[in-house]
């Protein structure tokens, strides 16, 4: 193992400085405590908490999880106790977490986001707020906030008005042009971007002839989506200059480095914890080993190093075939 003190692997997310670039992801990592038996949480940059909503939610019926080639589908349905209970019973415990805890806010209207964000950001246990905008806007035929630049901007602006704490808008890959959404979020005042959430998908049980998830559709995560997520980071990094937390299928240090080289300042680890709960530490150690081998002292120096433009004019002629 490499002597980590010789290397600067810190990442800045607005005014928040993470000592390590590795982040446990929302919905995958509980409050961090669930993984404490397996990893030294003080060697994580942060934990993003499960998304919380205005009202309590029981979430979706089971099955909520289906395993797929090199990935999985989930449809948890944002089970959470609602912001009131959360503030009263849960948040105080996060003071014990040996790394930064980032709150995650979900909602079904712009007002939802502003309300929950304001209440949560007021708490000192919460270092920053992530906006999970992959939710449908009930006032807008259920259109997903993150799939529309204007809806994205409205959520970010409303949240921005409630707090000075670092804001992270979490983008969806289910769009044709993620750069436009990223620009809208940045113009509306987000400090950073999480890129990306899960890709929509489903699976069918051919014997029962029905969808395998209780909720029919779900979000695909894991190694299967890594190339998709990596391109999203690459494109967002070209469009805006705020820090990016790259995520989607990161399992190894090599995967994490692909995201950093594409332009992410930090990396999120979700599904990989299910394959091995030691993943965040293995990844950190691997990043340090790479830095030692490549003689890189400061991780920031290689952020975006592989993002030097499109290779040739054929780019405009499409990707497929």
């Amino acid at each position: 193992m490499v002597d980590s003190t010789a290397f600067d692997v810190s990442a800045r997310i607005g005014s928040l400085v993470l000592p390590f670039p590795t982040v446990g992801l929302s919905g995958c990592y509980g409050s961090g405590a669930e993984f404490a038996p397996y990893v030294d949480l003080s060697r994580l940059g942060a934990v993003v908490l499960k998304s919380v909503t205005r009202r309590p939610r029981m979430g979706n019926p089971t099955p909520r999880i289906v395993h797929t080639p090199a990935g999985m589908l989930n449809a948890i349905g944002l089970q959470n106790p609602g912001i009131e209970w959360y503030l009263q019973h849960d948040v105080a415990k996060f003071a014990q977490t040996p790394c930064a805890t980032i709150g995650s806010v979900a909602g079904f209207s712009v007002d939802d986001y502003a309300y929950v964000c304001e209440r949560l950001a007021a708490r000192s246990e919460i270092a920053a707020i992530e906006l999970n905008i992959s939710c449908p806007n009930v006032a807008h035929e259920g259109e997903t906030f993150a799939c529309d630049p204007d809806l994205t901007a409205r959520v970010v602006r409303a949240a921005r008005a409630t707090t000075e704490k670092p804001l992270i808008a979490k983008l969806s890959p289910n769009v044709s042009d993620i750069a436009t959404i990223a620009r809208a979020a940045v113009d509306a005042g987000t400090d950073a971007l999480a890129v990306v959430n899960t890709v929509r998908g489903m699976a069918i049980d051919i014997h029962q002839r029905k969808p395998r998830l209780g909720n029919v559709t779900g979000g695909l995560s894991g190694a299967a989506i890594r190339p998709i997520a990596l391109l999203a980071v690459y494109e967002v990094a070209r469009a805006v200059s705020v820090p990016i937390i790259g995520q989607g299928g990161i399992e190894t240090a090599s995967d994490a480095l692909e995201f950093l080289l594409a332009g992410a300042s930090a990396v999120g680890i979700g599904t990989a914890n299910f394959a091995d709960p030691r993943a965040p530490i293995t990844i950190l150690d691997g990043i340090l080993a790479y830095m030692a081998q490549q003689n890189v002292r400061t991780l920031r120096d290689i952020v975006g190093a592989a993002n030097t433009g499109f290779a040739n004019s054929n780019q405009i002629e499409g990707d497929e075939g």
Binding site: C28, I65, W85
Partner: protein, 274 residues
Amino acid sequence: MTIASPPSAVVPTRILDRTEVARDVILLGVEAPELVRKVRPGHFAMALLPGGQAAGVALGIYEARGERCSLLFFLAGDRTRRLGALRVGETLNLVAPLGNAFDCGGTARDIAIVAGGVGIASVLLPAQALIARGARVRLFYGARTAERLVEAERFATEGCELQLATDDGSRGHRGVVTELLARQSAPEAILACGPTPMLRAVSAYAQERNIPAQLSLEEAFGCGVGGCWGCVVPILRSSAQAPSFPPSDADGSDVVHARVCVEGPVFWAHELRW
């Protein structure tokens, strides 16, 4: 179920033996002395796949004695197939022990264990514990075919009375195992593990007769350690296993979604609301 899991860890184990006990059913013995000391009847492990790229697989801990634990599993899909390809001498990482355990104490002396399919893997340790404390244990065990009634003899050797059923009648009663249960003298207590329809039938049987029944549930798992809320089951909010659960969103409902991997996998039948 009052017995909480001792702190789990990632346990690197060496594979000691591998037997295909029936077609597509693998028994894997691993060297894990520390785990043997910690494990209680009903605990499970997340078996991590060599090479990653897929979530670990939840497996009951079948045997635990001396230096050796074992896992008994069916080749159901990609991940169990990858586990099944492991060879003697290779390393298998287990996150274990996990979950709450069966309560094998108490004074009941006539106990029925009901197992269906892969559920058999989670009931050997409780059977041993119950027999060790002098209880009579009848194993009601159902499977699709005679070939799938794996390890039945093993349970007989341990001192269980066997009551077998197969869907096709190729061995024992033709039909479901709960029919067999209903035909016989009622036990004082029930422990059960198997597919959900079987557990529902056991639950109905037990509640009609006011017999305390502990059910070990199966759900599709994500993390297996409480971090993802992928594995829930509706239970009574006021139950012992949901001590500090928030109110649910359904007005006036006292049902909450508890995690099978942490609040379970063993639940009291009368507290489930499924």
